[in-house]
């Protein structure tokens, strides 16, 4: 029978690289990503599951990495915003965000991009209503969302996220 432990060794694949590491039981996944793995593109806006700045893909699905303990990600495959332009070249979605002025301060952008990428993978041709539902868990305090929706729409119409 296992005994309660305050640290556990986890193995997580992030953007194609495997990290095997002992982590404190209390450590949030977002802090593991930012402080241990040193990928600071994933932001923390609230810590309470509301803002979506900490959104990453876990096993292909969006999750809020402030709502997950790192130990819960043991064995998982994670994509952060740094994993999108892995080859150094921006994805069509990232180019569309830039072209449509879908970001101002950029705080929400990493989470927004991952929610948009997930949406387009599930539903390559979403309606405006579906786009708005797809990003309902991501708050942007700068843009008013219109340009974000435009950017996602332009990729949906042009094909390829």
């Amino acid at each position: 029978m296992p005994e309660p432990v305050s640290e556990q060794t986890i193995s997580v694949e992030i953007n194609g690289e495997t990290y095997e590491q002992e982590v404190e039981a209390r450590k949030l996944l977002v802090h593991f990503i930012r402080d241990v793995v040193d990928l600071t593109g994933t932001h923390v806006g609230c810590d309470t599951g509301n803002c979506g700045a900490c959104t990453v893909l876990m096993d292909g699905k969006t999750i809020k990495s402030c709502m997950l303990l790192a130990i819960q990600a043991d064995g998982a495959t994670i994509t952060t915003v740094e994993g999108l332009a892995a080859g150094g070249e921006l994805t069509p979605l990232q180019r569309a965000f830039s072209a449509s002025h879908a970001l101002q301060c950029g705080y929400c952008t990493p989470g927004m991009l991952l929610s948009a990428a997930y949406l387009l993978e599930q539903n390559p041709h979403p309606s405006e209503e579906e786009i708005r539902r797809g990003i309902q868990g991501n708050i942007c305090r700068c843009t008013g969302y219109v340009n974000i929706v435009e950017a996602i729409k332009s990729v949906a119409e042009g094909g390829g996220a």
Binding site: M1, P2, E3, P4, V5, S6, Q8, A25, R26, L28, D47, T48, G49, N50, G52, T55, K61, T62, I63, K64, C66, M67, L68, L69, I71, Q72, D74, S115, Y118, L119, R133, G134, Q136, G137, N138
Partner: protein, 264 residues
């Protein structure tokens, strides 16, 4: 804070008996809010994420056995969506895609909030909760499982294993009132079904009393049903709305729900 990560249901139940104070974590979408706000400081958490028996669902002779670890996103996917349409509709209103990818039915039952959105649709379908301890398992009717606001009938050494439900096939719907469309806790909510086979109108409300509650009337009494639903509620005034507004909203939702289901 320490963690226990069992790899099977049997191991999870053994650990829960050895450490009855260990707090289970499934999707974590309720528990992590409490931890991050420092509202709760569990000494030990029991990580249920690696227990395969809690995942997925199965069907045996018309009875659905839905694992406690089923996520809202999974409840929204076919064929479950067609088997339990009101549950799928309720799932669609939960949080956001990220929350629906993680949040589970077992967690909604564990929290037992009067606002838990999976609860009214499951009440309308007469769901039972299967709970287990090392000593064996028992089935509890959902309305008996929900004993008070954020209180359920689970004993310290027990875990929620599954939800059992025999889909009625009756036309049914779920509606929720909130200040905006996304990411809201219900001001009040209502699941409605018109079960012609049983000759019953069935409705269950959320956020309008200490626990979500089921109201039943004969099929012929549709005219008086909205008033009956509103009078069965015992809402309070709080930050999200007044008691009077909630009663009014329930009546409106009941009218709308009956219209939808009677037309189907």
């Amino acid at each position: 804070m320490d963690v226990l990560t069992p790899r099977s249901l049997d191991e999870a139940l053994r650990l829960k008996t050895e450490h009855p104070d260990a707090v289970p974590i499934a999707g974590g979408t309720d528990l992590m809010v409490a931890l991050n706000f420092d509202r709760e400081r569990p000494g030990v958490i029991l990580n249920l994420g690696e227990v395969p028996e809690l995942r997925g669902w199965s069907r045996d002779d018309g009875l659905l056995r839905i694992g406690a670890g089923l996520t809202y996103a999974e409840a929204m996917a076919e064929p479950l969506r067609s088997l339990l349409p009101a549950l799928a509709e309720a799932s669609r209103t939960v949080g956001s895609p990220q929350i629906r990818n993680r949040g589970t039915l077992g967690g909604n039952l564990g929290t037992a909030s009067p606002a838990g959105d999976s609860l009214p649709p499951l009440l309308v379908e007469d769901a039972e909760v299967e709970v287990a301890s090392l000593g064996g398992s028992r089935r509890i009717a959902l309305h008996e499982f929900l004993v008070g606001p954020k209180q359920n009938a689970l004993a310290p050494e027990e875990l929620i294993v599954a939800v059992l439900v025999r889909p009625s096939g009756a036309p049914q719907t779920f509606m929720k009132v909130g200040p905006r469309n996304a990411m809201v806790i219900a001001v009040c909510s209502l699941a409605v079904a018109v079960d012609r086979e049983r000759g019953e109108l069935r409705a269950a409300f959320g956020s309008a009393g200490p626990v979500p509650l089921l109201v039943i009337a004969p099929l012929a009494e549709a005219d008086g049903f909205p008033a009956l639903v509103a009078s069965a509620a015992s809402p309070i005034d709080d930050v999200r709305g007044t008691a009077a507004y909630r009663r009014h909203a329930l009546r409106v939702l009941a009218v709308r729900g009956l219209e939808r289901c009677l037309a189907a």
